[in-house]
Structure formats: C-alpha cells, structure tokens
C-alpha cells in the first residue's frame, strides 16, 4: 500500500470507450497479487475530488509497468482518457486482497469468467495461473462484437468462449448462457463483472471467487463506504470491498 506519482508510458483506445493505460513507477514492484486494484487520482487539482478504483490488468516487473483497462464513463475516466505519455498519475495501491491463486493446483483447470469491464483483472490472474501450470479457460462477455477487447490476450492463456448480448459474436446472451450451454469442467472458478452476472453465478451455486465493485471513498478501509452484508452472522456484520475484498469466496457476501 504505497502512494506514488507514476509516469504514463502509453494510452490507447482498444475498443469503443475502452482504454488501455500503461504506467511505470517504483510502486509496480508491490503489484504481485492479481485481483488487487489501484486508486487513481485523475487530476492534479481537487476536482474531481475522489480517486477512481481501477483493477490491475497486467504487470511487467522487468519493465516496471502496470497496465490498466478502463471504460470512459463519467467525469473522472473522461479526464483520465485525455492523459498523454509522459504525464504523471497519482496512484495509491495496490489495494485490497486479490484472487487466491493457490486454490487450483498445477495440472488442474481454472475457469475465468469476465463480463465487460470486469474482464481486466482476470488477465493478470490468468497469466499467473498459467505460469503455475494451471490450464486456463476463459468466458468473456461483451455487449457486441465491436466491444470485444483482449480476446487475443486471453487466447494466449488457453481456450476462450465469447458471449455478446446482441449475438454479433460468440454465444448470444450472457456468460452464464455459455456456462449452461457448454459443458466446461474446471477445478476453480474466478469471476468479475456486473453484479447481475455475479448474482447469477452465486445463485447457480458454483464454487469459486468473485471480485466485487462498490462505490468507494478512501479505498483503504477507513470510511466504511464500501461495505456489504454477509449471509451468516449478525445483521450488523459486514465486509469491506476495498480492504476485505474486492475478491470474495462465492457465497461469502450478499450481492
């Protein structure tokens, strides 16, 4: 958990409104756990005020770079998308607890399920799993063929299924449709995406890990903005997405 002004190496739009941002700095050396996130100050001024949580998508320790993929949505990410190589970016991180990679052993199979802008953190996870000798299968869901990104990158990790809401590529529908239509066997499952998708997975009773999103204040566990109820225990029990998560065991958290 460090704070550093890192330098932007490159930034490009890889799909409509989806940007790939590569930055370099000392702080990268702490980024070893896939599923952790960075808290990004998109401006040097006090406006917009809050940092933006963005997942670690890829890390290159040799080049000391970290890659983030983000969707240009509101004020903050719009400003971020205007940054140019050489510009500085104030990062806080890595934050949260990542995906446990030791839940699948060498020779076993891991299934990665990513929906939309939930895809990025799975890439660094998949790379680490692959290095550990785990077979990786990915199901990636997008709105349409035009919105697909990083498909090739995931193919380098193993088999890839794609779903699109409009059916313009891959299976028509959602990642869960792929899951029910294809008979995929796996030993561990990791998912990140919109809450509807994670809820569907949780209801299907599969086992594995999911990464959640919640609006954040501090990102470090101090403000209690990002709490979730837990299914068992007292009604006042909770977990914090920023520091207990963003990755949780499926079923551990109410979504």
């Amino acid at each position: 958990m460090k704070k550093e002004c890192v330098q932007i190496v490159s930034q490009r739009e890889i799909a409509p409104a989806i940007y790939e941002l590569v930055v370099t700095g000392q702080i990268v050396r702490y980024m070893t756990a896939p599923g952790q996130f960075l808290h990004v100050k998109v401006s040097e001024e006090l406006e917009p005020l809050l940092r933006r949580p963005i997942s670690i998508c890829d890390v290159d320790q040799q080049k000391q770079t970290v890659t983030m993929l983000y969707r240009k949505e509101g004020r903050g990410t719009s400003l971020l998308s205007k940054k140019k190589p050489g510009d500085l970016l104030d990062l806080l991180g890595p934050l949260g607890s990542g995906f446990p990679t030791n839940e699948v052993a060498s020779g076993q199979t891991a299934l990665l399920i990513g929906g939309g802008i939930g895809v990025p953190p799975l890439y660094y996870l998949g790379k680490q799993l692959q290095q550990q000798g785990v077979s990786v299968i990915s199901i990636l869901g997008f709105a349409s063929a035009a919105d697909i990104f990083y498909e090739e990158a995931f193919r380098s990790l193993g088999e890839v299924y794609v779903s699109t809401v409009d059916g313009s590529a891959g299976t028509k529908g959602f990642v869960t449709d792929v899951l029910t239509q294809q008979l995929i066997t796996y030993d561990g499952l990791y998912a990140c995406g919109p809450n509807v998708m994670l809820r569907a997975l949780q209801q299907q009773g599969v086992k594995g890990y999911i990464s959640l999103e919640e609006r954040m204040g501090c990102g470090i566990g101090a403000c209690f903005a990002c709490v979730c109820h837990v299914p068992n225990g007292a009604s006042t029990d909770y977990v914090k997405v920023c520091s207990d998560g963003p990755v949780f065991k499926i079923g551990e958290v109410m979504i």
Binding site: L49, L50, R215, C218, A222, C223, D237
Partner: protein
C-alpha cells in the same frame, strides 16, 4: 512548546491538526502510512451504544469539489470500541477524542460516560449533527433547547471535556453555539456536513440508497469559514474548525476565522498523507506570515494585530 503547539481543554497538542471523525476510522489504516504520533490529536469514528451497520450502499457519491456520504454511523458499538479499537492506539503519543452519537439522551450519556472513563480518551466530541441517521440524530443538532439539554447531561456524565459538534443545517448557528456553551460545553466542533443529494439520470433516482447524504470537502469550505467566523465572535469557548480543509493555507484561513484547531476529513480519502503533509507545511507558512506561534492566528480576521498586516 513549539511554534505549532497549543493547549485546548483536555488536549495538549503538538500541532493544530487532527483527522475528523468518520474520516479516519480508528486509525489503523492510516498507521500503515505514517506514525500517528505526528498528529495533533485524533478524532475517532462515532460510537453508539450498540453495533450499527448504518445505511445501505451506495453510501458515497461525488459532487463538484465535494462528496456526499450516508454511512449512517456504522460502528461496532462502544464496548467493542473500548475492547478492540482503543488498545492498538496506546502506542501513539497523541490525544484521542472520542466522538459520541446516539438516538436518545440516555444513549449519548451512557456512551459518553463509558468512553470518558477510558484513560486513553482525552476529550469527548458530542455528535449532535449527523445528517444520516433517521431516528432522532439530526434533531438534537437543529433545536437549541434539545442540544443544550443533551450537552448538560453529557457534561454531567463525562469525566473529560466535552466538545459539541454542530450541524450547519440550521437557520442560526450562533444560537446553537451559544446554547451549548451556556449548557457547559468546553468547546465546539464545526461544521458537520450539509445535507445534499446526487441524482442519477440513468436510474432516475438518487444515487445514494439513503437518498440524501452529507456534503463534505472543498465545496463546503466557504460555509464552514462563515459559520466559524460568526460563532467565534459570540462564544468564548474554543472551536475545532473543519469543512473542506485540504492544505496548510486552508488551516491558516480557518484559524484566522476563529478556529483554535483544525480537523481534516474528506482530504484523508484523497490523499492518505493529507494530515502529515499539512502539518509539515505549517511552519513555512508561519515564516511567510512572519508569525511566531500558530496560536497568534486564532481569530486573526477580527482581532487587532500588534504587528501590522503585510502590505499587498
């Protein structure tokens, strides 16, 4: 005594800077960034009698130069706070201010009594101003008589000085301040958040699950400065000022307006090093302003200066 140190009821402070309640948890997250002993004081997160979950999420939303929160006083309850949260803070040389909230006079009194009995606790901050709690919370902060009655009862029960934290969501902040001063408050904390709302055009609903939330950050700084300025001229107890402070210059401005010490809230989320950075910058500001001790600044905008103003 150093140039930055000061004394307030119950508090011997190395400098005027303290993190504000609810913006620093119980300190442990920030302890991984810096030594908490650097701080002038620490205001702990609000404590209630029983554990509280608070409001549903989303609980924060961004606004122009500010943010809304509707945490709703989530906390593990006073007993757990005493058992689990206070002990790790023993190792730091920094006065702790316990913030107390409640739904009834009895709850406030009980929580304040328990916390004030802790040796570690230097003072009580009475939160009569949380806008995010439906049951009661806010009305203690908006009615002068209710506020005075509560202050008196908590004063009677507390072994430590009591600072009353005022709500800005009132017609007359001076009336509230004078009422709690007359009821025995040792000091004031101001301001808490302004009630606000953010709308989501996509869902056509307020962003916050609680609909409304408390506005904090630089956006409210002018309101905070104005209220401190008004109150400082009509009470004789010290004011802990807050509301949008992000820099040492802000601290100077708050002290000129009448604050004796300054709390930093939202800025801790933007930069976890906000407090130590501000503390670090203060001394240079004293040089720049040709001032010996920071205490000289207090009420500087309406008191007479011995040394003439800098010419522009």
């Amino acid at each position: 005594m150093t140039r930055l140190s000061l004394e307030l009821p119950g508090l011997s402070m190395k400098n005027p800077i303290m993190p504000a309640s609810g913006c620093f948890g119980f300190g442990k997250e920030f302890a991984s960034f810096y030594d908490l002993s650097l701080l002038g004081a620490i205001v702990l997160k609000s404590a209630t009698k029983e554990p509280r979950f608070g409001n549903e999420t989303p609980r924060v939303a961004e606004t122009h130069s500010g943010m809304l929160n509707s945490i709703g006083l989530q906390n593990p309850g006073v007993d757990q706070i005493i058992a689990k949260e206070l002990p790790p803070l023993k190792r730091y040389q920094v006065p702790l201010i316990a913030n107390v909230a409640g739904k009834s006079e009895e709850e406030y009194v009980e929580v304040a009594r328990k916390l004030s009995q802790q040796e570690q606790i230097a003072a009580i901050e009475l939160n009569i101003s949380c806008p995010n709690v439906k049951e009661g919370g806010i009305q203690f902060g908006t009615d002068a008589r209710t506020a005075a009655s509560l202050t008196r009862k908590v004063k009677d029960a507390s072994k430590k000085p009591v600072y009353v934290k005022l709500s800005p969501n009132v017609t007359s902040i001076t009336e509230m301040a004078q009422a709690v001063e007359a009821a025995g408050a040792d000091g004031l904390s101001m301001i808490n958040t302004l009630v606000g709302m953010v709308m989501d055009w996509k869902t056509r609903k307020p962003v916050l699950a609680n609909k409304t939330g408390g506005l904090s950050g630089p956006a409210i700084k002018p309101v905070a400065l104005r209220m401190i300025y008004e109150v400082a001229q009509c009470v004789s107890i010290p004011i802990i000022g807050m509301g949008g402070v992000t820099s040492a210059q802000d601290v100077i401005e708050f002290m000129l307006a009448g604050a004796s010490a300054v709390a930093v809230g939202t800025a801790n989320f933007v930069d976890p090093f906000a407090c130590p950075t501000i503390i670090n910058d203060l001394e240079a500001w004293l040089d720049k302003m040709k001032i010996e001790s920071i205490t000289e600044l207090v009420e500087g905008s309406f008191k007479e200066w011995e040394v003439p103003l800098l010419s522009r």
